[in-house]
């Protein structure tokens, strides 16, 4: 059919550090050597924690775990660009963000230990793990509405996976953000898989970034295994949001190097070649190579960073394992500001029952 072209759109792509850790100098964000080392240190800590929790899980000392292995550049690069007043609204694979923003490792572990006390973080403006895929993006939009209403100098960041972009809530969040011009940044960890479903079975769009066009907002695709590109793109998007120029969708292309969770076996649905391809693009090694080449890191310092990480993680494990069991009252006491009478009665009834039997085990204390 003959036609008239009505509008044209384009999608940008950003990459700074290549897979061998060589930087495109003119794209480098302004970060001091100390800052660069700090970013790297966070990445090492996240990786160390990940590996440790995987071990604990295999030993039955912690529950089902969703590793962030191979994706560290995204939560860490983006969180490093935030300011204290910014909000981070996570999915369940952003432990690196929590590390950067000061959530104790203990809290991260308690979550996977099935302990509700995990999410009372001692630092502010970070929402807990959100399991129903995609749903948390709307909370970030809502927080951004609050920021906008109060005319505050803050931004809300939402994290989600490639799978998350298929849920209706993702659509509604981006549409609200575009329409209301919200100070919001949407960060997609496109790790190529949603459990066993590959990216191409999630959407027929060539990129996730182009979904921004549907909402008339900024969209960019970033090398998600390049912590500096993630940092730079987030920085730019935060600045845009902070100055009233609206939301951005950042697609970070990465790879889930581990299983979906410890309950999954990824060898059932993907090839070792694919995993190997991405192993060669490891975000941690890439940053390490860059820092070594720049002389900002020595093998000795690297060793020291790793040892310190291990020590921190081991200390957290100790804390975790010595953490007192929760009280059964905890089942009841946090649903309402003031617990209704009927619910108090149910708690009493449970206590009365427990008084008639021996304890069930060491999972809880009455």
């Amino acid at each position: 059919m003959p036609q008239e072209v009505y509008s044209n759109f384009s999608i940008r792509k950003l990459s700074i550090l290549d897979k061998d850790g060589k930087a495109d100098e003119k794209l480098l964000p302004k970060l001091s050597p100390a800052q660069l080392k700090e970013i790297y240190t966070h990445m090492v800590l996240a990786r160390t924690l990940d590996e440790k929790i995987l071990k604990l899980q295999r030993q039955g000392r912690i529950g089902t775990y969703s590793p962030g292995l191979g994706q560290e550049a995204i939560p860490i690069g983006s969180a490093y660009a935030t300011q204290k007043q910014d909000w981070s609204v996570q999915s369940f694979r952003e432990h690196g963000m929590m590390i950067v923003r000061g959530v104790p490792l203990l809290n991260i572990m308690l979550y996977f230990g099935g302990d509700e006390r995990n999410a009372k973080y001692p630092v502010d403006n970070i929402l807990p793990n959100s399991v129903p895929v995609g749903s948390q993006t709307l909370h970030a939009a809502g927080i951004a509405m609050g920021i906008q209403y109060k005319q505050k100098d803050a931004v809300a960041i939402a994290y989600f996976g490639d799978g998350g972009t298929s849920e209706g809530d993702f659509h509604e969040a981006l549409n609200f953000a575009g329409t209301l011009n919200l100070p919001c940044v949407f960060i997609c960890q496109n790790n190529q898989w949603a459990i066993s479903v590959p990216r191409k079975s999630q959407t027929h769009a060539e990129t996730i970034a182009q979904k921004a066009i549907a909402y008339g907002i900024e969209g960019i695709q970033v090398d998600g295994n390049d912590v500096l590109a993630v940092y730079a793109a987030t920085q730019e998007a935060l600045a845009r949001a902070r100055t009233g120029k609206g939301p951005t969708l950042i697609e970070c292309v990465t790879y889930r190097m581990g299983d979906h969770t410890t309950a999954d076996d990824a060898t059932r649905y993907r090839s070792p070649e694919e995993v190997q391809y991405w192993r060669e693009r490891d975000p941690l090694l890439r940053m390490q190579k860059y820092l070594l080449a720049q002389g900002m890191l020595s093998p000795q310092l690297d060793e020291q960073i790793k040892n310190e990480s291990t020590a921190k993680v081991e200390a957290a494990v100790l804390q975790y394992e010595q953490f007192p069991a929760p009280s059964v009252d905890d089942i009841f006491d946090y649903h309402y500001k003031q617990t209704p009478a009927d619910l108090e009665a149910q708690k009493k009834e449970l206590h009365a029952f427990l008084d008639t039997i021996k304890p069930l085990g060491n999972e809880g204390e009455k």
Binding site: K120, S135, L138, A144, Y149, A173, Y336
Partner: protein
């Protein structure tokens, strides 16, 4: 004091709560310029501005999900879902998040949103516009559920819901919106959540209702006054969750008979929980089987037949007789 219908009473509550608390924001479909399709939010946008009275895109999950975010941020969002039959797209946000944020964060954050939504039938509306959906939310821990039955209660309960720290699903029986006017104070006041009202005292049988069924029961009381002249105690629950169990218990202890009137489908409507509690805790006081007068286990029929579905005063009285003549 002035005469107000329920729409005016609700509007007055919103006006006053927005006046006294800058953190109250109103959002939903058509709540701004149009003042809501039932005019409950009329005049709010011109008074408080577009930043506080927000016409959102047409997306209920979006409305509730962003309300949760605003509440976490510290605002007090009062969201409107245009009809309670359209609350389902937001069900995940309500059940998985609104009801749980406080527990999930051990009280660090809370999602004390208010969701206002017109409910129930009787006005010859199209499909999905006449639903009684309260049971879904009563079964969901972490929520409060309120349904006023009069203009006076509507204003006081909405103010209380807005001042409440917990998430409240606030049902507005649309049949009552303009059904009648009554004296309502112009100034702000609250009616405590969780407290039922004894509309009429009686000693033969307890009649329990909520929302527009309260008016239906009042009409049944009038019929009764002409004929059987049973001494009927009518209780308006007002808050459906948490239930004012002591009020129910006390009345049935006295009367020994209980008829529950509900417009929602019978199976697992709130009447089931009340009957179950009575069977658990008041069995020995019961002089006759519990009677439920309810909608049927079908969808609300299109309006040609809705008057056969919605309990009528005659059907209520039929139920009362059943309890009395046992």
């Amino acid at each position: 004091m002035t005469k107000m219908n329920m729409v005016q009473a609700l509007n007055s509550a919103l006006m006053l709560e927005m006046e006294s608390n800058k953190d109250v924001v109103v959002l939903g479909e058509d709540v701004g310029v149009d003042g809501g399709v039932f005019r409950v939010t009329e005049g709010l946008q011109s008074k408080y501005g577009k930043q506080r009275v927000i016409d959102t895109p047409l997306a209920e999950s979006g409305i509730i999900g962003t309300s949760i975010g605003m509440a976490i941020y510290g605002l007090k969002p009062v969201a409107e879902v245009q009809f309670s039959g359209f609350i389902y797209p937001a069900f995940n946000q309500i059940v998985s998040h609104a009801a749980r944020i406080r527990n999930r964060t051990r009280g660090k954050y809370a999602s004390g949103i208010v969701v206002r939504t017109p409910c129930s039938g009787g006005v010859k509306a199209l499909e999905h516009h006449s639903e009684s959906t309260e049971a879904f939310f009563i079964h969901t821990p972490g929520l409060k559920v309120v349904m006023p039955a009069s203009p006076y209660d509507a204003k006081g309960l909405l103010a209380a819901a807005i001042r409440d720290p917990d998430p409240v699903i606030f049902f507005e029986p649309l049949k009552l919106y303009r059904a009648y006017k009554e004296e309502v104070p112009e100034e702000a006041y609250t009616i405590p959540l969780g407290k039922a009202k004894v509309v009429q005292e009686g000693s033969d049988v307890t009649l329990i209702a909520w929302g527009s069924m309260v008016k239906t029961c009042q009409e049944a009381l009038q019929l009764n006054a002409q004929n059987e002249k049973y001494s009927i105690e009518l209780i308006d629950l007002r808050t459906l969750s948490p239930l004012d169990w002591p009020a129910v218990h006390k009345s049935v202890q006295k009367t020994g008979r209980c008829v529950i009137v509900q417009e929602a489908p019978k199976t697992l409507g709130l009447g089931a929980e009340i009957a179950a509690r009575l069977a658990e805790e008041d069995l020995l006081s019961l002089k006759s089987p519990i009677v439920r007068v309810t909608g049927f286990d079908t969808m609300m029929p299109y309006f040609k037949l809705e008057n056969y579905y919605i309990p009528s005063p005659e059907r209520v009285l039929h139920g009362v007789k059943k309890a009395m003549q046992f």
